[in-house]
């Protein structure tokens, strides 16, 4: 009789442990989804500022067309960013364009002292700066969550529980390809 209780006890403990692991995987997955939603949310916040920036730049009729086109294109890319699924490649594209736009604005604005002195323009640039800072932080949080989630589903025995109950796949973290291209060193993973 005692043996039966011990057997049942071990069985119950194993089930509780398995449920705990499964729930942790679900919690981590949801936290990663939320982190991704924050990345897209902060990217979307930039759209409004970019619209206002486009209007302001249009007032300077002789302003370089290429920069204006960059603003429009970036806005469009952000609007196309998938909120529900982690679309890393598109986010990489947006981040690259965003960096290029800021760089070209900083160069071009030197030729337009009136624009540089425009308080509305400086406020918009400050806003973009803050939004970029938040996007950067949101991406960091997303990557940290991705690492924890991937660890959670890949380590033993969690991988067994995941395969049996959830079948979640490892999420690809965000990488800045532009920065990676500048490194000679390439990690072998």
């Amino acid at each position: 009789m005692t043996g039966l209780f011990i057997f049942l006890g071990i069985f119950v403990v194993l089930i509780v442990w398995g449920v705990h692991i499964r729930n942790t995987i679900v919690r981590y997955f949801n936290a990663t989804k939320r982190a991704w939603a924050e990345v897209t949310n902060f990217e979307r916040q930039k759209v409004k500022t970019l619209e206002a920036l486009e209007t302001t730049l249009n007032q300077y009729t002789q302003f370089e067309k290429s920069t204006l086109e960059k603003v429009t294109e970036l806005r469009q890319q952000i609007l196309n960013l998938n909120v529900n699924n982690t679309d890393i490649s598109q986010l990489q594209q947006i981040e690259k364009m965003s960096q290029e736009l800021i760089r070209s604005l900083n160069v071009v604005v030197e030729n337009y002292p009136e624009l540089k002195a425009d308080s509305l323009y400086s406020k918009m640039m400050d806003d973009i700066q803050k939004q970029n800072e938040n996007v950067g932080a949101a991406i960091t949080i997303f990557n940290r969550n991705v690492e924890l989630f991937n660890n959670q589903i890949e380590v033993f025995p969690n991988n067994l529980i995941n395969t049996l109950t959830l079948s979640k796949k490892a999420i690809r973290p965000f990488k800045d390809n532009l920065v990676n291209e500048n490194f000679d060193y390439k990690p072998n993973f």
Partner: protein, 342 residues
Amino acid sequence: MPIDTVQEALNIRRKKNTQVFRNIARLWDAGQKSHSAQDLLDALHPWREDHNLRFFNVLPYLLAICSITILAFGYFLHPHIQYIWSFLGAFLTGFLAYLLYQSQDPLTQVIRYLEQRMVILRYGLQFQQLPGYLPIHAQPVLVLSKLKQYFPLFNRGTESNEITQYASVTWNDGVTDHQVLLFQYHYVNEIPIIQDQSSDKKIIKEIHKDLWGAFIFEIPALGIAVSNQRSRFFAPYSSKWQSSDILINQELNIFGVNQHQLAKEVSPSLTLKLHDFFQHFTGDLIYHHEEQILCYLGEQNLFQTTSKQSEIHDVSALRGHLRTMTMPQYEKFQQFMLNLIK
């Protein structure tokens, strides 16, 4: 006291101690006249006199030994010499030893003064002064009491809750000046301990503890409280917030006035900055919900100084001590707090 005067006169007349007294006077003067940390160090080198910073008490110690010896021998020789004479002899030599003994207090005092002066000159800390941001005529006691009311973190002691030491300083993050008031909070708790099971006798044990922190002024009133010590916070910061970061949720507790305000204010950037800060500090941090003040209270001693020199017996050692003296906790606090608030 006449005895004190006699003692002082005797000590000054002893040649070696006279030089030490002269060194002490020069050190006080150097401290008062210096306008920068380098000025103070330059005033100590070259010294061009005897460097010694230790009073010679060989004679008083010998006299004290003599006194004890006379007392002991007198006891054994009392069949031949009346004990009263030995006792009188011992008393006189003992009293002379007392008169000639020079305590190290004047040295300790001047070293403390120079250390504090160095902190003022190097770090810009103004001890027992309120920041310039507050009205000039404000009474420090009233201001501190008001600040303690704004942040009910100061009720840990059942018997006493005092801000015993404070210093104002201005920080610059490259763009803005921030007025800061650093403080040491001392609290006392009384715990009754039943001594005996059979009787009702209780021993009251006092437990004294210190915490250190800072009030930072002209900070946006975000209404957020963060802690890595407590899992609940007092009103109005009673609404708990889960950030999107799994790690931060495991290590930090974030509270606010309500969920709407928290969703608006706790951005990813602020979340990461808070995490960076609390990786190095243990305590509570509050952005006030109405006043533009931030308060941090934690366990690290922000006034702690360290130096490579431990024993100070001469002016060169004192200079080395002052030169290498730093406030590591304060420096770290300034760095991470500026990163958080800018």
